[in-house]
């Protein structure tokens, strides 16, 4: 019996050895001049173009073997990129501004996605139950509003909506709830309003929730929401890879703009969104170029709302 246990322990140690040795194979150039890069993304509609672009071979033809890693929320993505586990990541602009302000040493390499810029037809909005007395963004004063992350792009853009409608954003009571929990919380009356993005905007609409503020639209025209980024260190050491990756993303974004039906086909390959629901979603728009004015606006809002103390130097953050 003891001998068998010893054998088990020895076996364990053997298994442990390769497990401990991992983590060092980041950017080993593979055969045939291709470079394997890992991109950390969140499994949401916003990143559909990169999946589609990979299918279309836009990365392969530039010598990039693209590996997608999905993480839950940006929290695991930023340290993943700065520690070198991922070479690139996808994150919203406000998170990137905060990270840059904290000195994490990151830089944007390509556009992620943008608001449609159309009131009534965007992919994110503040919604209230059908019978709520709240009629517009100014009425959010004194209301409990659910956001997925406090002190981030949700609160700062909803604040912009409230300000534009003549309200005082400091009177809004934000509460943190995960997006999937918002429809139920809203219909049970646990919150007065919720800032939701797709697919939950459509899900709440099916429950007769009513949009009262289109916060992305109110913040800036064609607001840039998210971007693909890398660490300063990686960009310095691999300028060619970064350039090739950025070009491939830009081509993917263009392809996504021109082939909306293919976007709706690729989404189920990495999410569990119901096939019927996908057809009804409002998609973001995917310009290839970075909207510097929008980033500047988010930068100013982040300072105004106290997310960062002073504005981030955009020349360092943006390409």
């Amino acid at each position: 019996m003891f001998r068998r246990a010893l054998a088990a322990i020895a076996g364990t140690m053997l298994l442990l050895a390769p497990a401990c040795g991992g983590g060092g194979d980041e950017d080993a150039a593979g055969d045939g001049g291709t470079t394997t890069v890992t991109v950390g993304v969140i499994p949401i509609v916003d990143v559909a173009p990169i999946y589609l672009g990979d299918q279309q071979g836009f990365f392969e033809e530039r010598g990039i073997d693209l590996q997608m890693e999905t993480a839950q929320g940006g929290a695991a993505l930023l340290p993943g990129v700065t520690s070198g586990q991922f070479q690139f990541g996808f994150s919203n602009v406000t998170s990137l501004l905060i990270a840059q302000n904290q000195g994490l040493g990151i830089q944007v390499v390509a556009n992620g996605n943008n608001s449609t810029g159309q009131e009534g037809a965007d992919f994110g909005a503040v919604v209230v139950p059908e019978d709520s007395p709240i009629q517009d963004a100014a009425d959010l004063e004194g209301a409990t509003v659910a956001v997925n992350t406090l002190e981030n792009i949700g609160t700062t853009t909803v604040n912009a909506s409230v300000r534009e409608a003549g309200g005082d954003p400091s009177q809004v009571e934000y509460t943190e709830l995960e997006l999937p929990d918002m429809p139920a919380a809203l219909s049970a009356g646990r919150v007065d309003a919720a800032w939701v993005v797709e697919p939950f905007l459509t899900i709440t609409a099916q429950e007769n929730a009513r949009p009262v503020a289109w916060n992305f639209v109110d913040t800036a025209p064609d607001l840039m929401i998210a971007a693909y980024f890398t660490s300063d260190e990686y960009a310095e050491q691999n300028p060619d890879v970064v350039e090739a990756f950025a070009a491939a993303v830009e081509e993917s974004l263009q392809y996504a703009r021109e082939n909306e039906d293919e976007i709706r086909e690729v989404v189920p390959t990495y999410t569990e969104i119901d096939e019927n629901l996908i057809q009804e979603l409002t998609l973001p728009v995917w310009p290839s170029e970075i909207n510097r004015d929008a980033v500047e606006t988010l930068n100013e809002l982040a300072v105004e709302d106290g997310l960062i103390e002073e504005p981030v130097d955009l020349d360092q953050l943006l390409p």
């Binding site: 019996m1 003891f2 246990a5 088990a8 322990i9 076996g11 364990t12 140690m13 298994l15 442990l16 497990a19 401990c20 991992g22 983590g23 950390g40 969140i42 499994p43 949401i44 890693e69 999905t70 993480a71 839950q72 929290a75 695991a76 340290p79 993943g80 520690s83 586990q85 991922f86 997006l179 999937p180 429809p183 139920a184 219909s187 049970a188 697919p199 939950f200 899900i203 429950e207 990495y270 999410t271 569990e272 969104i273 119901d274 629901l277």
Partner: protein, 264 residues
């Protein structure tokens, strides 16, 4: 007497099954009754449909494999390290005194509190999941082994010493048989804890596995699929428990606690 007779008529697995059936019936009735909105807690038959769709995809089985793989590997590491260190520390009074306060300090730290550290060190690679599993499961084993070593009959120990048993033979013939039932208890506790931590890590960190599938279904608003996967984790938990008990019974077949027919 009568209870014994009744127990014999309905075997324990049948009673367990009855409880499970009641649970499933409740799961069907409660959402349909409108007690909770069926949009957010779908009735059983809808969960069943989603489960049927899920199990027909390779993705699901890969996820099950990832979860069980991480669980097995983490559990083995915790078991190996717990037994070796437990025997080592337990057989030396000096080591025991030196490590006691450290163990008492580290043991209550919940493994999930180490998630930020695990993500920072290993990202979403399997190591971060293993770190959480091993940390949680290791203490369960170590503490049991320490108790087991302490439980050695002093007469047996002294006898072994007077027969000039070497350290190795002492561990093998005296300490190990005494500690084995404790080791098995540690193994049983660790096996369940390891599964909980495997799924937690996948849910929160996003390591590949069932937990990640649950999180993806959740962030996609696919409520039925999410609950289907949650039920699957429950089934795996039951299977793990049954399996561990079988192993325990076999390993300890000689032990009085298992060998029931011998009256004390």
């Amino acid at each position: 007497m009568t209870t014994v007779a009744r127990e014999r008529r309905t075997p324990s697995w049948a009673r367990g099954l009855f409880g499970f059936v009641v649970f499933l019936v409740m799961l069907e009735i409660v959402p349909l009754s409108g007690l909770v909105p069926s949009r957010y807690l779908p009735p059983l038959h809808e969960i069943g449909e989603a489960l049927g769709a899920a199990v027909s995809e390779a993705e699901f089985w890969i996820a099950v494999g990832d979860t069980l793989g991480g669980w097995g590997l983490g559990l083995s590491i915790a078991l190996g390290a717990g037994i070796v260190l437990g025997l080592l520390i337990g057989s030396s009074g000096l080591l025991l005194r030196f490590t006691a306060s450290t163990i008492e300090f580290l043991r209550p730290i919940p493994s999930v509190a180490l998630i930020p550290l695990a993500v920072l060190m290993f990202g979403t690679e399997i190591e971060s999941k293993l770190m959480l599993i091993v940390y949680a499961a290791f203490w369960q084993v170590l503490i049991q082994v320490l108790y087991g070593v302490r439980d050695v009959d002093p007469v047996a120990r002294d006898t072994a010493r007077s027969f000039r048993f070497g350290a190795w033979s002492r561990i093998r013939h005296v300490v190990w048989p005494t500690a084995l039932p404790y080791v098995m208890t540690g193994f049983r506790l660790a096996a369940t804890v390891a599964l909980v931590l495997a799924i937690t890590a996948e849910l929160v960190i996003g390591n590949p596995g069932l937990g990640k599938q649950i999180a993806t279904a959740r962030s996609s608003g696919a409520v039925e699929t999410m609950y289907a996967l949650v039920l699957v984790t429950g089934v795996i938990g039951v299977l793990v428990n049954v399996g561990v008990r079988l192993v325990e019974r076999r390993v300890l077949a000689w032990h009085p606690s298992v060998r029931r027919e011998v009256p004390a």
